[in-house]
Amino acid sequence: MSMGRRLPVYLLLDTSGSMSGEPIEAVRQGIKALLSDLMSEPTARETVYLSVITFSSSAQQIVPLTELMSFQEPSLDANGSTAFGDALKVLEQCMDREVVKATSTTQKGDWKPLVFIMTDGQPTDSWESVADHIKQKKLGNVIACAAGPGADENMLKKVTELVVKLNSLQPEALKAFFKWVSDSIKTTSQSVAQVAADTPIGLPKPDPNNMIIVL
C-alpha cells in the first residue's frame, strides 16, 4: 500500500580514541534522546528514516537507513584515529545507494536529506578533495559540528556552509547538541512539503551556553 515520502537523516559520528569514556557515552545517550524526541512528533515519526555512520581508523555504516519505529540503538566504541576522508566517502556511497531521487518513476522520491557530521579532532587521512566533492554534490542539507576545543570549524567549512561549534565534550554540551539535532529534524519534517529548491534550511537557535553557529 502507499506510504509517505521518507526524510532520510544521516548521523556521521567521530568515534576516535579521544571520544572514549564520557564523550562516547554522552553520544549514545544523545542518540537515545534523539529517538524518543522524534517519536513524539507525529510528522517526524511518520517520515524520518535514520542511519548512523561511525568513523575512527576507518568508516562504516553501523545502522542502515531505518525507519524510526524499527531503529535499534547501536553500541558505540571509541578508539583509533580520525579517518574523516573515508567517512565522507562512505557517507556518499550510502546516500547514493539508499536515497531515492524525486526523478524516480517507480519509487516515491525522498524529501531532501539531512546530514549531521560530528568530529572532535583533526582528520588523520587525506580528506580535502573528498570534502570539495561533497560540497559540490549537494547531498542534501549538511550540517557539521566541531565538537570541543580540539575540533577545527574552519576545516568543516570546506565540507558545508552550515557549521556549529560545541564548547566542550562534556555530557551537557553533547546532550545540548543532540537536542538541537532533534529540533532541527523536527522543524524540517514539519516543513518538507513544498519548499523552493534554494530556500535555506531554517535551523532552530542553538543553546548559547554550549553551541554557536559558525558564520
Binding site: R5, R6, Q29, M39, M69, A196
Partner: protein, 798 residues
Amino acid sequence: MGFSPEQLIRIIRWKLGIPVDKDYRNLPENWKVLSNSSMYKDFASNISKCIAYILEMGIRVRLSPTSVTDGSEEDISFFNSLWASVAQWVLVNETKRSPRVTRKIYRVLFKSLPVSSHGGGPSGLAVYSGTSTKSPLHSPGRPSKEELLKAIRWKLGIPVEKDNERSQTFWSRFAIDPSCTDIVYKVAQSIAEMLEEVIIYRLELLADHSDLLADLAANSEGMEHLDSLWECFVQWLHADEARRSPRVNGEITRAVTRKTPSADPTSSQQVSRVATEMYNAASKYASNLQDKFLSPKDERSSGQMASTISKHGAATITPLKSYQKAHELPGLSNAPDSSHQPRRIDVTSATKEIPDIRATMGEGRQGRGETSSIETETPAPIIPSAPQTVKTEAIPPVSAEWRYLPVPEGPDKHPEFDARAMDSIEGFKLIGARARGKKHKHDGTNCDDWFQFCSVGDWTIIAVSDGAGSKKFSRVGARAACETAVAQLALQLENHKINFRDSWTADTLRRDEATGIFAEADLDVVQKALHNSMQKAYEAVERATAERQNSLDHFQVLGRRVEVRDLSATLLLSVHTNVPIQNGVTSLVFSCSIGDGMIAVIDKNGVSRLLMTPDSGQFSGEVTFLTKKEVQPDRLLNRTFVFLGAIRALMLMTDGVADDYFPNDPGMSRLYGDMVLNQVITLGGILDSDIAAALQKTMLYGQNEVAKAEFHSIVETLTNKDPAKVRVRSTTSYSEKLDVPLSDVIASPALLIAGSQGEPMCDETLPEEKLRVWLDSYHIRGSFDDRTMVVLYREVLP
C-alpha cells in the same frame, strides 16, 4: 511506544487525577497506548512506590522525635501541609471509615509497636535514662498500645477527642525513647502503604495485587475511602505546586530527564529504569532529610530544646484554603507547651462529595464535578483525536499523537473545508472538495489549498492550487490564482467553439516544434488562453500582495511587510469541451500547470493518461511556484498538454492526493476506482444482470459474497466534534478478493458498481460532500498534507 519523560509524567498525573495543564486532548489515547505496553506494569509500580515514599517521609518528619535543626522553611512547610491534608482526610472519614480501613489503621499502628499489650516487658524498649519517670509504656495497668496510638494521632495532628494533655505528655516521653525512631519509621511506612494501594487502584494495577483485591472484595467501601485520601493528597499537591520544596522538584525532574526511555517499545528495562530513578531520587531526598531532621538524639535539656524551638518559632503551616484561619496544627516541635494543642479541624468547609469512582474510573478527573474548594483548573473537555488503524496497513497505528486544533483566528482566515458541485454541460457532473491536512490540524494552521471551477459556453474550466507549506500567506496566493485564472479563461473561451472535423488525427493536434504554436488555429486559441490566464493569475497574486502591504496584521505575523514570495503557490489549470465528431461527440481536454499535484484523464477503458509532469527538483518538495519567470509563454510550452478521446473522468488534484497514488501512472486509475467504490462517483447504465454476470467470473461470484468480503477499513476523521466513522473501500483489496487484476477491475464498470454496493461510506449523500469526507478521512502513514480534488465525470460511461 516512545513517550518522552515529560509526556509520561503528564499521562500518569492525569490518570492519578492530578490536574495537568490545559492540553488534555491526547491523554486518554496516550493512556491506552501506555497502559497496554509491556513495560507499563513495572513503570507504574515504581511510580506508585515513589509517591508513597514521599508521603512516608512526610509522616516520618512529622513524627520526628528530635527538634528541628536547620531544615529549610520550605521543606518543613512542604511536609507539614502534606500531612495536614492527610489529617483532614482521616478526620473526615472518622465517622464513615470502613471497617477495613479501620482494621488496617489499627493493624498498622499495632504492628509498629513492639510492646506487648500487657504494658510490661522490655522487648525493644530500653528503660529511660536521664529522667526519673518510668517509661510511660511501662505504666502499670494501662494498655500502652492504645496510649501510644492516641499519642501518635495527636502528634500527627489528628484531633483526639479527649486526653489531649495526656497524649501530649505521653508523647514527650515517648519521643526520647530509643525505640521511638523505629516505631515512627514503621508507622510512616504502613500509612504510606495505604496510599500506595490507592495509587495501584488508580493506575489499574489491581490485577497484580490479589491480596488487595480480595480485601476489597470483602469490604466494598474500602477503596472509596482510601481514594478520598488520594483526593486530599492531590489537593495538597496541586495547592502546593508552586511552593513545593524546590529540592523535591529538582530531584525528581533531574532523575527523570537524566535518563530517557528508549524508543524501543519492547525495552521495558529501560523505561522502568526511569521510574526507578524517580524512586531513587525520592529516597535520596528522603535520606538527606533524614540526616537533617532525624539526627541522632542528643539528650538535650528542655531548656536547650526551648531555645531551638524559639529560633524557628512554632512552625506555622500554611493551611489549606478549606480550613478556617484559626487553625494551627502542631508544629514540628515537641515542646511540652499547652498552647500547641491541636484544635478541631473545621469539617464543614472541608467536606466534599466522595465521587462515584467506579463510574468514572478510566477517565481521570473527567466526568466529576468540582469536588473541592481548592482552586483547581477545570480540565478542558477531552477532545477525541487519532484516526484508528487502517485495516489494510501492516504498520501499527502511528497516529495516536495527531491532535486537532481549529483554524486560527487571524488575517486571511480560510474556511477549513470546501465542497461544491456544478451540473456541467452535456452529460458530465462536476464536483470539487478540499480538506485541511493532518499536519495543519496538528499545528492549528490554515489549509493552504484552493480550487475553483465554472462552466461557460461549451467549456468547463477548472483550477486547483496548493500554497507553499513554508509560506505564511500562500493560501492567499492559491485563492487569488484560482479565482483569476478561471475568470480569465471564462472570458476568453466563453464564445469560442471548436470546429467540426470529419476526423481527428495526431496531426490535428500537432504543434510547431520551434514555437509550440498549434497548427490548428482554433486549438491555439485555447493554448493562448491558458498561458494568458497563468500570467493573469500571477498578476493577481501580486495585487493580493500589494493589498496587504500596509496591513498591520500581516506585518505582525511576518515581522515585516508581506512580499510576493509569501504568497507562493502552484497552479493547475484544465479546460474541457465536447467536440463534434462523425458519430457524436468526444472529449477535448487541455491542461497547463506550474508546480506539483496531478491532472489526469481516465479514458473509456479505465486507463489513466497524465496531463502534466510535476515540476520537481532533485528531491521531493523542491517545487516550482507561480512566479513572474515561470509564467512566460516559453516556460509554459512544455507544461501544456492536450488530449482527445472518450473519457470517463478528468481529475485535478494537489499533491496531498497525488502522492498517495504513486506512481501516478497507473495510480490515477486506482484513484478512479476508489472514487467509484467509495460512492463518490455513482455509475449507472449497467444492467443488474450484467453485474451479476461479471461477478460470476470472479472469486466473489455474487453480490452476497461481495457484501461479506472485507476490502474496506473503518477510519475515524480527526476532528474536534464527534468523529465520523468512515468506511473506506480500497480498489486494491477489492481486486485481491475478486482475484482479478487491478486494471481489469477498473476497466469493468460492472465490477466497480458491484464493489460500491452495500454499506454507505459515510452519512453524506451529496457527491461533493462525500468527496470531502473521503479526503478528510482516508489514512496513509506519512500522508498529512492538505487534500484537494476536482473531478469532472460521467455517470453513464461511453
